[in-house]
Symmetry: C2
Subunit: 141 residues, 2 copies
DNA sequence: CCTTGAGCTTCCAGTGACTGGAAGCCCTAT
DNA sequence: ATAGGGCTTCCAGTCACTGGAAGCTCAAGG
């Protein structure tokens, strides 16, 4: 198989497949013309990588998962550990994003978003207290 | 003010402040000895940047927010638009992470995580149906 | 005056995981 | 013979920093 076909079947772009070879994740053979010659196992590995990446595993995690996958003497605990750590990293990220979301959505709601320059979002970013409504005036609808 | 004091007061590391100058976000003056000489307004800007970055705005967003902040003729709608787009990007990211989290947590639960090699996580990544009982089905080699 | 050490300067390189583009070879069809 | 598409390599850029090296400046202590 040439790289184009593998790319199509694995869903991973040719550029990325070459990159994966560069960093040693796959080692396709070469045809006489210098083209990469992929076997079914290479395709299989790439599909594995694609799914692992889609779950957000880092390349280094993928490398480890792949070697565990190929190691018949692995202990599932090793795999589980990697997955659990990743899961907890995802949880952290979600929590962080939700905190941002919380703050930001309040600010967006508070901003009337019209032609006037007055803006609670900027006020908050500039360090003023945004939540305190000054007695100055009523916001529009 | 030298960079060290500004770093401390703004919470932004010196390296980052220099980087922000590089990309034109702040333009401190220079003392005779070549040291950066920050004014209060520079400090103010850096604090603004720190808060905007903490809300996840990209550097380009920050640049735009900063120029709106300094533009007395701005319309709050412009600010709101930037914030809304960012908010929606955050929502997308949260959704994506939650989907990963969902899949991954099921897999982690399903994996007994002991000394045996059998592992539903790897099985899933390799493309097999994770819920299926073993059927020996080896793919082509 | 000299030394020491902290703080400042610049520039270069690396991070993660690709992605775009240029220059050029290979293969097939017409 | 030529045209096109696919393949090759290598270089550079992305994003937002961060680390480190080499070297200058400044204030304090001996």
């Amino acid at each position: 198989m040439n790289i184009g076909e593998v790319a199509e079947r694995s869903g991973i772009p040719p550029k990325t497949i070459r990159y994966y070879e560069d960093i040693g994740l796959v080692r396709p053979q070469r045809s006489g013309n210098g083209y990469r010659a992929f076997r079914e196992t290479d395709l299989h590995k790439l599909a594995f990588l694609g799914r692992a990446r889609a779950l957000g595993f880092s390349i280094e995690d993928c490398r480890n998962l792949l070697s565990l996958y190929e190691d018949e003497t692995r202990e599932s605990a090793q795999v589980k550990t990697i997955a659990e750590e990743h899961l907890s990293a995802i949880d952290d990220k979600i929590a962080q994003l939700q905190e941002m979301r919380e703050t930001l959505s309040h600010l967006v709601e508070a901003c009337h978003g019209d032609h006037r320059p007055d803006c609670p979002i900027l006020k908050d970013l500039s360090g003023a207290l945004a939540g305190c409504k000054p007695t100055t005036g009523r916001s529009a609808d």
